[in-house]
């Protein structure tokens, strides 16, 4: 029997990005287990204020991915260690714009990705989650 893995909750260095905890929602921003980090769906939040920021979709995607980078770095990982990403858009016609910004963040060897459209909350234009390698 191998050693039992344990769950470790991830806390962003910037407490304003700890949106789920601040909103008293029953989830943490991410969990690390062994070699993997599982992030909750992240939405466009201004890291200066902690408020949702609903500019053009390109801006929302950029904000979300830079917050995701912060979250992974807080856990000792980084965007280039992401292995699988899910991008959920409120409006499927934002796909091309999302993709354009997305490529800026993953210029080489991007992770596996699936993108689709669903109903999102609070007027968010995108919600992005990932699984990344720890360390």
């Amino acid at each position: 029997m191998t050693e039992k893995l344990e769950r470790v909750a991830i806390t962003p260095r910037n407490p304003l990005l700890n949106a789920s905890r601040a909103g008293n929602l029953p989830h943490v921003p991410g969990i690390r287990v062994g070699d993997y980090i599982f992030l909750s769906g992240m939405v466009p939040v201004d890291p200066q204020t902690g408020e949702r920021s609903h500019g053009p979709i390109a801006e929302q995607v950029r904000l979300t991915l830079s917050n995701m980078a912060h979250m992974l770095e807080s856990a000792g990982s980084s965007l280039d260690r992401a292995v699988r990403v899910h991008v959920v858009l409120a409006d499927i016609s934002d796909m091309a714009e999302m993709d354009r910004v997305y490529r800026e963040f993953f210029p080489v060897d991007p992770p596996a990705r699936t993108a689709w459209s669903m109903q999102l909350r609070f007027g968010n234009g995108c919600e992005i989650e990932c699984v990344a390698l720890a360390g």
């Binding site: 929602l25 287990v33 959920v88 669903m118 999102l120 909350r121 989650e129 699984v131």
Partner: protein, 106 residues
């Protein structure tokens, strides 16, 4: 319903099912959430794991307006710290109001 792969258990999207009969048990978003998580607890314990080893949850709701009703029930099932999670609204089949899938440590 669930597959063990190495250190992880991958659980299919669960809907509100009566564990005695296997029949669907349609209800409110809150009652479907309660039924699903009660069944999930049973399923995980039968597999030698438990709710406090859940790592990542995906919740699909028929309407995001119901998210607070789901959250209220959901919060009672998971000890601190709760798992990572994503909640989205989706068109679900057959009048289903809630689907919950998750990844769990074995």
């Amino acid at each position: 319903m669930a597959v063990r792969g190495g250190a992880f258990i991958f659980v299919s999207g669960l809907t509100a099912i009566d564990p005695q009969t296997g029949e669907r048990r349609p209800g409110t978003t809150a009652s479907e959430t309660r039924q699903i998580l009660a069944n999930l607890r049973q399923l995980l314990e039968a597999a030698g794991s438990s709710l406090d080893r859940v790592v990542k949850v995906n919740v699909l709701l028929h309407s995001m307006l119901e998210a607070p009703n789901m959250n209220e029930v959901y919060a009672r099932f998971f000890p601190e710290p709760p798992p990572a999670r994503t909640v989205c609204g989706a068109r679900l089949p057959d009048g289903i109001k809630v689907i919950i899938e998750c990844t769990v440590l074995a």
